[in-house]
Amino acid sequence: MTSQVEPLYAINDLVIDLYAATVSVRAVDGVSLHVMPGETVAIVGESGSGKTVSTLGPLGLLPEGVTVDVRGTAKAGGKDLVGMASARLSQMRGAYFGVIFQDPISALNPMLKVGPQLAEQARRFCGLSHEAARKEAVSLLARSGIPDPEDRYNRYPHEMSGGMLQRAMIALALAARPKVLIADEPTTALDATVQAQILELIRQIQRDNDIGVILITHDIGAVASVADRVVVLYAGQVAEEGSVLDVLTSPVHPYTRGLLASVPDFRAEDRVEAHEIPGLPPNQIKLEPGCRFAERCEHVEPQCRVERPPLRTIAAPGTPHRVACPVVIRREGIAVQ
């Protein structure tokens, strides 16, 4: 990848605090990540790790009823989304980003037929006429693998199966020809054989369009299956990032190692006991200094509890492999760039 190519979406040193009635939570704590054209980046982490908030937060897509404080930058198409007025943000969100949500039935309007919802997107953000938008919507449904798209155009969401709805959702996300497609747990609500269909569809979209795809997931299998790069988040911070091959086959951060060991390789021959990471993710209300993983880590040293571990780039050909654990790097004599 040459340095001339600008990332399509670049988050830099992002901090997001969420305030509810009585508590504040630091959901995202200094996260930087980006996606390049034609690239699929997976954001991996458990619930509460900040994977959704860090990616969708700058777009203004956050749970209702909480007050948000966002710092840092989130650049897309030469503009910073942080602090952008909500009308402009809404325009950006529609035209530049396509979002696939975990639960398609709640993302589509149940009172409207599926097709017109797609056509509206195409009309509003691509300036198509009514007739052209209708044609585009039918073609989007077809390209998303929906059989008999002319008929499905006039169906209501409740008349379609979960897999069909997720395909319609993907068609909707692509309707405004976005530069960046964000898929938030797109397969979690689906059955195994349908999951495989949807992952195949995402792979195909990525091949056919030169867009950037951000895949938010906790499913390591999905990461291995479609992503080029992966960013591992733990308690609102980046623990490790790099190419899928580097991170999944030679993880360095103790959390990544624990996470991968707790998903047994489905195709390995011998039976190994599921590795468990002891304890629970930290409470992000009372923040302790130092490494967030320290309490659950088998390699913990006194200094881990004092100082936030810096992300260091370790030697790897091609895509940089970064790890926020100086302890393992030192103990295992891993070369740092």
């Binding site: 458990e46 619930s47 059989p147 199966s161 979960g162 897999g163 069909m164 059955d191 195994a192 054989t193 349908v194 999951q195 495989a196 269909q197 992952l199 195949e200 906790h218 499913d219 390591i220 299998g221 999905a222 990461v223 291995a224 299956s225 899928v244 091959l245 999944l248 086959t249 624990g258 996470l259 991968l260 707790s262 998903v263 047994p264 390789d265 489905f266 195709r267 039976r271 006991e273 599921a274 590795h275 468990e276 990471i277 002891p278 629970l280």
Partner: protein, 327 residues
């Protein structure tokens, strides 16, 4: 322990009437034998009837036809004559621990309730039993005065397992006990189940859609499709050489966490969605999506027959030394 199997399911049917006057055949003719001390997985996609089957085994759902036999006794008869002794024998663990506990009872009350209902000893004896249960599921006694809501998902699932174990059952039936949990926590609960099974000699039945977990913990497995058994056998050999084309597709759909394997392996992508259980296809229920179906499949229901992995498969093309290969 008696030599009778822990659970026998005989030609079980569970149909639900719909408002339109049709019926959803959630479970439609299932035979199953689960021996004592086995760890049995029931897998399949949503709508295949796996949860209905589990609920009917423990009597949370009434059967339309057929019979469930627990330790040699007819389940329906047993529940009618002595409901309490039945629930001391068989317990159910729900998918959503929060939804299955009272939000206003603290954990102590939650665990004490079954002991009270069954007249378990004095207050002190109950307190000791609750402590034993906490130790069994590795929870600290600090949770006792908390409400379910304030616990993490993993802790809640430990509480609901502890509650199910309160009366020393010999059979535990669990409906998707892991699907609400995060990956690293899931591994903790998986290991808890395997250690409990070894320590207490339980018979455990788990309904799951996560095949990786089933492969890891279950000694035997039943694959369901649209209310019927597609295939059954010992987990490892069956997963290695699935004979039913549906099992082959289902197993192929599980991505590997290893990108070297994942980017090169062949996948079977099935066309379409599973058909509706209110109007299942004729003959083999899988024939509408099956890549190797032929005329007979649409006409004749395949019976369960011996398959190369030593278990049984409901496919016209499977024999004891040959299986159809889908690619």
């Amino acid at each position: 322990m008696s030599e009778k199997p822990a659970i026998e399911v005989k030609d079980l049917k569970v149909h639900f009437a719909t408002r339109a006057g049709t019926s959803v055949r959630a479970v439609d003719g299932i035979d199953l034998v689960i021996p004592n001390g086995s760890f049995h997985g029931i897998v399949g996609e949503s709508g295949c009837g796996k949860t209905t089957l589990a609920r009917t085994i423990v009597g949370l759902q009434k059967e339309t036809a057929g019979q469930v036999v627990i330790g040699g006794r007819d389940r329906a008869e047993w529940m009618k004559s002595d409901r309490k002794s039945f629930s001391r024998k068989v317990q159910f663990v729900f998918q959503d621990p929060l939804g299955s506990m009272s939000r206003r009872q603290n954990i102590y009350q939650t665990l004490e309730e079954p002991l009270l209902i069954h007249g378990f000893g004095s207050a002190e004896k109950r307190r000791n039993r609750i402590q034993e249960l906490l130790d069994l599921v590795a929870l600290s006694s600090t949770v006792l005065d908390r409400l379910p809501r304030s616990l993490s998902g993993g802790q809640r699932q430990r509480v609901s397992i502890a509650r199910a174990l309160a009366l020393n059952p010999s059979i535990l039936v669990c409906d998707e006990p892991l699907s609400a949990l995060d990956v690293s926590i899931r591994a903790q609960i998986v290991n808890l189940f395997t250690s409990l099974q070894k320590r207490l000699g339980l018979t455990i039945v788990i309904v799951a859609h996560d095949l990786a977990v089933v492969r890891e913990v279950c000694s035997d497995v039943t694959v369901m499709y649209l209310g019927r058994v597609a295939e059954e056998g010992i987990t490892r050999p069956l997963f290695r050489e699935p004979a039913h084309p549906y099992s082959q597709a289902l197993l192929s759909a599980v991505p590997s966490a290893n990108p070297l394997i994942e980017t090169t392996r062949k996948r079977i992508i099935l066309p379409g969605d599973p058909p509706s259980p209110s109007n299942p296809p004729s003959g083999c229920r899988f024939h509408t999506r099956c890549p190797v179906a032929f005329e007979k499949c649409g006409a004749e229901v395949p019976s369960l027959r011996e398959a190369p992995h030593g278990g049984k498969a409901a496919c016209h093309l499977a024999t004891s030394n040959k299986r159809p290969i889908v690619d």
